[in-house]
């Protein structure tokens, strides 16, 4: 019998070519879906990890810092460590502008772990050899060439060093902002003065031993590292302790799985399994229905239920055997092609994103397993139906939802649309499944459309830059520095050059105070500050209020605040919320010395004023002190909600935090500002450009900052917009892809049903034609049937999309500041229209392909 069963399987398999094709397509589609999704998922995870490792500058499992030479020797012996690198930090180089360079002594292991092994040349051997990134070398005015000479300047143990070095090798940098320059052990031995260990006394890093490690196993690593730090005589917990040793796990490498992400992934996987279940279930359900008489016959002549089950299961296995490999193959390439697009949108937050995925067995095994499970689940019911059919029933079988409704109200006539509607009721489960799978596509694409449409590009652009262009010194635009010192000011000459470009208009220089402007201070009501601490970098005395807001303070220990001097056109661009909101009137009053405008950070999500930072009300008097004496009193005339552009530029806000801290943002007219500050410096030059000239100006600036004046940098609304657009592209791409797959599954389901209907009801059609149904009427009936599915799906889809839109989607988008929720059903309606058109075409094509021959032939075939 086993042999016979095999023959039977093979023959039945060969007989149902159309059906098998559809089944293979369904299984392939499922596998494609799972593979592409897992490829994208794992690829994103891998790429993100690598990107973040590159950003963090280490792919180690963890690192130890601030060790002595002896402690480092002990660490190397620890049994849980497989590899330990050596890093002896020196300091950041001081002779840089735009690109920050950290100068350390490394060994080769450490260099490899921290992405700075030379890709050209070799590791440094001689005491005066270094390896650095291409960008670092250019920053120092050298070319990335082995043998190039550079001069490095840095401070260690309060002594300034200026050393000529030779490039032994270089590598491509992964960050625009920062890279590593390193020398070999020989450098340490040649400069014992730099590497004295004084960390326990003065916290100078120079002279400490640091080490990035690769652990034998990641489990329990945090504990082991702590114990090791204690074992070598260090204190890993108290940062203030003399013997403090930092021992931290690299959470970028050993990223804990966030429960939200795990739940989201599981839900998504379930949704996919469900979608594919709907499809494969229908394929097999239909296949079994079509051959129910044959199964009845097999049962009559003595085939057991088990054998019938085996027969169908075997076919499922064969079909999977064809479908799954094809799907895995196609899916991997779709996933890999999609990956860079997705990663590109993350590049705003993570510069120099790495996007790649290896064809890992996890992807294929996972996807194949998921597909197999889906096939198994979906075939259970059809298999049971086929096995349990009694022979007599099988012969009488007319597809109809049996028994429950013996009667129903007759209509006066029997019009074709009603007849079509009744036909849907023949197999309720199948109808429901098709409608649901089409609905999923409508809903999903609408959610995607809503998200993409709600992405508020202009809000993001406006937050970064309110004008077309802004020019600052290179340091101001450096996220690690910002506009802090007078020397970071923008040269007036630059403004002259830029404003002379054709098309430049509304230009306004913006003045801002710096950490050097400690002679001008401010005082307002309710200000209670503590003793404060001295900031080592800026030299400012930083004082805190009772809410832990901190203020940079001046010579008289009053806050120096962040104070701006600007033209009326700049004030006009700002978001005035309270007090005098007419920019012109406000500027007039301020220019006459009658008051000041206060700015408060906005809450980006709802653009409301951030209450925590709202420290002075309209009407309140702010007293200006000069050299410790009250100089004038300025009432608050207006309050503005300030964004990134009003504070500094783009997304950096390091400068204001270094200067005034959380202290008030005060905006003054240029004339008043110049009266108050003895050495007013320009922080940035913001301007618009005639539309026709924008490209030229962009080209000019690009050339200017790169080739003419590297001390200067610029930002344009165009680049800000492009950054924001990337997110939209990703949403559209990924969402569209998934939605399309769902849609394709739904349409495949529909095609399958239509084709089967035509084959299964051939006899019925022939009868109806013989008693006077024309071909046109038959076609119309089938179009009605098919369109009803689409109509049902469209209706359900639009309603669910609307419900989801105003609930979950609104909440989700509402919590992200980049979005402003816009309700839309346009995507749902569009998809519905497409579905309706497709659903009208499918039966026409199916009838044309499968309903051939004369009525007599068809009547005979059926018998």
């Amino acid at each position: 019998m086993g042999e016979m069963l095999k023959t039977l399987t093979r023959r039945s398999f060969a007989a149902g070519r159309v059906r098998n094709l559809i089944a293979v397509l369904a299984i392939t589609l499922t596998a494609v879906l799972f593979t592409s999704i897992t490829t994208i998922g794992i690829g994103t995870e891998e790429s993100m990890t690598l990107t973040m490792q590159m950003q963090k500058g280490s792919k180690s499992d963890g690192d130890f810092r601030n060790m002595t030479a002896k402690q480092f020797e002990m660490l190397k012996e620890a049994d849980f460590i497989e590899l330990a690198g050596l890093r002896m930090p020196v300091n950041f180089l001081s002779n840089t502008n735009r690109h920050n360079i950290e100068f350390d002594v490394l060994d080769d292991v450490q260099a490899e772990l921290t992405f700075c092994s030379p890709t050209h040349g070799k590791a440094p051997v001689a005491y005066n050899e270094i390896v650095a990134s291409e960008q670092a070398l250019r920053e120092l005015g050298a070319l990335p060439e082995v043998g190039a000479e550079v001069t490095i300047e840095f401070t260690a143990h309060n002594r300034e060093y200026r050393l000529p070095m030779v490039v032994s090798g270089w590598y491509e940098s992964t960050s625009d902002q920062l890279s590593m320059m390193w020398a070999g052990i020989a450098f340490r031995d040649a400069h014992p003065d730099i590497f004295q260990f004084t960390y326990d006394q003065d916290r100078d890093m120079a002279g400490t031993y640091c080490s990035d490690i690769i652990a034998v196993t990641a489990s329990g690593l945090s504990k082991k590292m702590e114990q090791e730090a204690i074992h070598m005589g260090g204190n890993p917990h108290d940062m203030e302790a003399e013997n403090y040793i930092a021992a931290t796990v690299n959470f970028v490498t050993n990223m804990p799985l966030e429960p939200e992400i795990a739940v989201m992934a599981a839900l998504l996987a379930l949704l996919f399994v469900f979608c594919c279940y709907l499809l494969i279930y229908n394929v097999f359900d239909i296949a079994v229905m079509q051959e129910i008489r044959r199964y009845g016959l097999y049962r009559t002549i003595g085939m057991s239920k088990r054998q019938v089950r085996k027969l169908i299961n075997r076919q499922a296995v064969w079909l999977s055997g064809i479908g799954i490999p094809i799907g895995l193959f196609i899916g991997f390439f779709i996933g890999r092609a999609a990956l860079p697009v997705i990663m590109a949108s993350l590049s705003e937050e993570y510069a120099n994103v790495a996007a790649d995925v290896s064809p890992s067995p996890v992807i294929f095994l996972g996807a194949a397993l998921l597909t197999a499970i889906t096939v198994f689940l979906s075939t259970r019911k059809p298999v049971r139906v086929a096995a349990n059919i009694s022979p007599i029933e099988a012969f009488r079988y007319v597809e109809n939802s049996s028994g429950k409704r013996r009667e129903r109200k007759s209509s006066l006539g029997a019009d074709i649309s009603r007849l079509a509607l009744s036909n849907l009721g023949r197999n309720k489960r199948r109808t429901v499944f098709i409608i649901i799978s089409l609905t999923l596509c409508v809903v999903l694409l609408n959610c995607v459309g809503t998200a993409a449409g709600s992405l508020d590009i202009e809000k993001q652009v406006a937050f970064k830059i309110r004008t077309d262009f802004a020019v600052t010194s290179a340091a101001s635009m450096n996220g690690m520095k910002g506009f802090v010192h007078r020397e970071d000011a923008l040269d007036e000459q630059v403004i002259g050059t830029v404003s002379a470009q054709p098309g430049v208009k509304d230009g306004s220089p913006i003045y801002k105070n710096t950490v050097e402007d400690t002679d001008v201070t401010y005082e307002w009501e309710h200000l209670v500050l503590d003793e404060g601490i001295v900031d080592k970098d800026s030299g400012l005395n930083i004082r805190f209020d009772e809410n832990y807001m901190y203020f940079g303070t001046g010579d008289d220990r009053r806050p120096i605040c962040n104070v701006y001097g600007m033209e009326e056109s700049v004030v006009a661009r700002m978001d005035l919320r309270e007090g005098e909101t007419d920019a012109h009137a406000l500027y007039e009053k301020m220019a006459q010395g009658k008051g000041v405008m206060v700015g408060v950070d906005v809450n980006r999500v709802d653009m409301s004023i951030n209450a925590d930072l709202d420290m002075a009300d309209v009407g309140e008097i702010i007293t200006v002190y000069k050299d410790g004496k009250p100089e004038r009193e300025l009432p608050v005339l207006a309050k503005a909600a300030v964004n990134g552009d009003d504070q500094e530029i783009g997304i950096t806000c390091n400068g204001p935090l270094e200067v005034g801290g959380n202290g008030l943002y005060l905006y003054l007219p240029t004339n008043i500002y110049k009266e108050l500050y003895e050495e007013p410096v320009i922080y940035k030059y913001a301007f618009n450009v005639e539309e026709s000239q924008r490209e030229n100006v962009t080209a000019f600036l690009e050339d200017y900052v790169n080739n003419v004046n590297p001390e200067v940098n610029y930002l344009s609304s165009q680049t800000a917009r492009e950054d924001a657009e990337k997110t939209r592209k990703t949403i559209n791409f990924v969402g569209g892809l998934v939605g399309m797959i769902f849609g394709f599954a739904g349409v495949l389901n529909l095609i399958n049903t239509m084709v089967t209907t035509i084959l299964i009801r051939r006899h019925e059609f022939a009868t109806m034609q013989s008693i006077g149904m024309t071909r046109k009427q038959l076609t119309r009936m089938m179009i009605f049937e098919s369109v009803y599915y689409a109509l049902g799906a469209s209706f359900l889809g639009v309603v669910s999309a609307a419900l989801l839109g105003v609930t979950i989607i609104r909440n989700m988008l509402g919590s992200m500041w980049q979005y402003t929720f816009h309700f839309t059903l346009a995507p749902a309606v569009c998809v519905s229209v497409i579905l309706l058109i497709v659903s009208a075409v499918v039966p026409v094509a199916a009838l044309w392909l499968f309903h051939k021959g004369s009525i007599v032939e068809q009547l005979r075939v059926a018998e």
């Binding site: 007319v398 597809e399 109809n400 049996s402 409704r405 013996r406 009667e407 129903r408 109200k409 007759s410 209509s411 006066l412 006539g413 029997a414 019009d415 074709i416 007849l419 009744s422 036909n423 009721g425 023949r426 006899h763 019925e764 009868t767 109806m768 034609q769 013989s770 008693i771 006077g772 149904m773 024309t774 071909r775 046109k776 009427q777 004369s854 009525i855 007599v856 009547l859 018998e863």
Partner: protein, 222 residues
Amino acid sequence: MENILKAAGLKKYYGKGDTMVKALDGVDLEIERGKFTAIIGTSGSGKSTLLNMLGGLDTPTEGSVKIGGTELATLNNEQATIFRRKQIGFIFQNYNLVPVLTVWENIVFPISLDGQKPDKKFIMKVAGMLGLEEKLDSLPNNLSGGQQQRVAIARALASKPSIILADEPTGNLDSKTSDDVIGLLKMTSQEFHQTIVMITHNPEIAQMADRIIRIEDGRIAT
């Protein structure tokens, strides 16, 4: 009496050369209006082919069929279908009811297809005679074979066709039910002056007809 149906020189050949099958080989036939004619013959004698030709379901290789003055060969597919639903009522061996339509809807189906309003009074009368009044809202699956065939008869009568063609209408029924069905068929046809052509292989059933035509090897045997 006038002839409602006239077939002349009907031939239907399948295949070619040695394998050629002559299903019909020159049949001439005239059917009078209002008569109940039975065509009998053994399996493969060509009687079903003949009925398909008469009903315009199939086209002859040669010869012509005229119903009520209309030459079927001049009609295209679509026209033939429309002609059929107006002029010809069909009754099949396996009833061929539409499973999703109720009895009433099945009966009026051909009329609806023609875009006409059914003559409710007339159809109620037909249903009454066939004993179907109680079953009008039932679905076909819930009816016995005899009941289903009575529905088929009602459907054939509903559009008041010129002629009813019945292909082994009792083939799936037991003898008692067969007698009932044929009795009803004959009675209703007399009541409504219908012409009936019925195929059967059962001589007893054929005995109930006004005229019996025997067909053998594609020719009429007299």
